[in-house]
Symmetry: C2
DNA sequence: GGTAGCACTCGACTTCAAAGAGTGCTAAAG
DNA sequence: CTTTAGCACTCTTTGAAGTCGAGTGCTACC
């Protein structure tokens, strides 16, 4: 563990704050003027040299100022930064931005992502693994062809999932209607976590053993639900905000980054890991975690949203390493709380 | 109308072809060498001067070659260009790319968009106004709250539409189930174009007049369908391909263009107009149509896909003015045919 | 009408010098 | 022992000047 004197910390913080603001390497003179304690640039230079030796700062070239390294940022985030409190009016306007999009849950999640991107001026992201379809509401089997069945699954919160399954034997819509009726009755108000178990029980019951029709219905429901919970939705909004960051002025770089966004499955994997790992706010910097190689200069601030203690999904902000963390962190945190709350309401209705 | 001699046409074509290939202003020397007819650069210069006077060419500065203007491109597209035939193997691989994504119709449309973007190395786009939910398959009313009803509408092709409506009176799920049953029975296999009429007839029938329950069901179905057909889905894929075009090397420009993509409602309007206007392949160049202001340097190649004579939606490619039209046009055309065909099959199932 | 020749224009690239920001080191002061 | 002032040094940025080359327009000639 690294030992820093009080003054080291102050200087590091000042450098990072300034760097976050301007994006330019910052020199000793600037810090000397700006900082509260009155010390000369020369003194600051000594401190800087120390910090550089510790690997917290980096000098692009001999005659330039210093830039924080990933290690420096990490230290800053973990033990120096005090994140700003959100003002009441800020909270208010975030809340408004979310509540004016009540339509359905898909809209809500996309809206959240968009809101995050606008408030943080970076890309916003929301991941919603469907296994968290919190509780079962309705299932519907529709015949598309003699062996082709479309299954529509709806959660109480209003999320729709659509799958296809194949039947081994020909089947009529009338039969399927019976299936729907039966399964809906069976699962009424069963939380999704229990659904699979409930189905299994029923499959082993006498009724199913002796009635082929019911048995098939149960199997189908089982398969459909299996598919459903393996799926995830991801909403990435405001990517173009990233273009405003001067560090991405080079088209080459920009393209690499935007292309990474296009491969959603990678993004899903990334966020899924974050979701599993985290209990609260989490920050992944550039090369630190196993962010994609394309992302060296990027950073992710995320927080899970949850029902009670079970995490439902994760939301966050993606931007360059140089972001205003002290502002973004509380926003992400607050949004996660807010969304948790809203989903709770939606699900209770 | 502009009169061009044979030679004018050949020169114009040569310039445009070369410009499309290289992206650089093209000089008289180049044309002289490349063109079939053996004439000296000086002669070409004379022709060029004429073409410039007609507003078909433009000279960035005195000592540069010529670049086609929008007017020049238009003329080329309308009366000079011969679009290349697609080879059998190309057709084959396009077909494969589409057919390997059979899952559901949403996937099919998104896949089409992606395929277009990959084959043309530009952004691909597919617009699907829901009014073309070709024929009604299933409706489901679900209670979300005492006055809040979620309506799910499914077309035979498997497209799902979700809306909310509010009820004036409290309502139970049991009632809603009856509604669903009734409406589904009523509309079984009615093409969507007839649905509204069918509903109206029924509303005026005796049965509805005397049964409040039926009457409310009809009203709800009516409203839900109204919402549904006003909605559109749009799929834009491969935007990052645009970054490869050297003409967008400036970040400023790039941002403007990508930002325009983010406002989907604008894109919908744009394509919707194209859809209404067109019967076949259609090309909108930069400022010509009422493309958005942000799009001066962009161009859209589109073609509607249809069932019989009614257009269902539109697909196309968006890229810079400088695109390889002779290749892209047949691809778009062929894809539209192919998709029309596939939807026909899906809907008959 | 077509072509060769030629002077001219203008952007792209290179070179060079000057300016400016910032450092590291040393020596003196607290 | 820590802090500071001073100074030489390094490296990037900026701008001016100069050269190069592509391409043109014009004129005279075939």
């Amino acid at each position: 563990m690294i030992e820093l004197t009080q003054r080291d910390q102050i200087v590091l913080e000042a450098i990072i704050t300034d760097y976050i603001e301007t994006g330019e390497p910052v020199g000793s003179r600037t810090i000397s003027k700006r900082s509260v304690m009155n010390v000369s640039p020369a003194t600051i230079r000594n401190v800087m040299a120390d910090l550089e030796e510790m690997g917290l700062l980096h000098q692009p070239h001999t005659s330039a100022g210093r830039v924080p390294t990933v290690k420096g940022l990490r230290l800053y985030l973990d033990s120096i930064m005090r994140s700003r409190q959100l003002g009441g009016s800020e909270k208010e306007s975030i809340r408004d931005a979310l509540l004016t999009r009540p339509q359905d849950i898909t809209e809500l999640l996309r809206g959240t992502s968009k809101m995050l991107s606008q408030y943080c001026r970076q890309a916003g992201v929301v991941l919603w693994p469907k296994q968290s379809i919190a509780s079962f509401k309705h299932i519907e089997f529709l015949r598309r062809g003699p062996f082709d069945i479309m299954v529509i699954l709806i959660s109480r919160a209003g999320l729709i999932h659509q799958t296809h399954i194949e039947s081994k034997e020909e089947i009529t819509q009338a039969e399927l209607d019976k299936y729907s009726l039966y399964i809906n009755e069976l699962l009424r108000n069963v939380p999704l976590s229990m659904v699979k178990q409930r189905l299994r029980e029923e499959m082993e019951s006498e009724k199913a053993l002796f009635d082929r029709l019911f048995s098939r219905a149960l199997q189908m429901a089982n398969r459909a639900i299996q598919y459903a919970i393996e799926d995830s939705e991801i909403y990435i909004e405001g990517q173009t905000n990233l273009l405003d960051n001067p560090e991405f002025a080079h088209v080459e770089q920009m393209r690499r980054i935007l292309q990474a966004f296009e491969d959603k499955s990678k993004m899903v994997r990334l966020l899924d890991e974050a979701l599993k790992a985290s209990t609260g706010i989490q920050i992944v910097l550039g090369t630190e975690g196993e962010l994609l190689q394309e992302w060296e200069e990027m950073s992710l601030v995320s927080a899970p949203f949850r029902r009670g203690d079970t995490p439902l999904g994760i939301l966050g902000v993606i931007g360059p390493l140089r972001m205003d963390y002290s502002r973004i962190i509380p926003i992400v945190e607050f949004t996660a709380q807010l969304l948790s709350h809203m989903l709770e309401i939606a699900d209770e209705a």
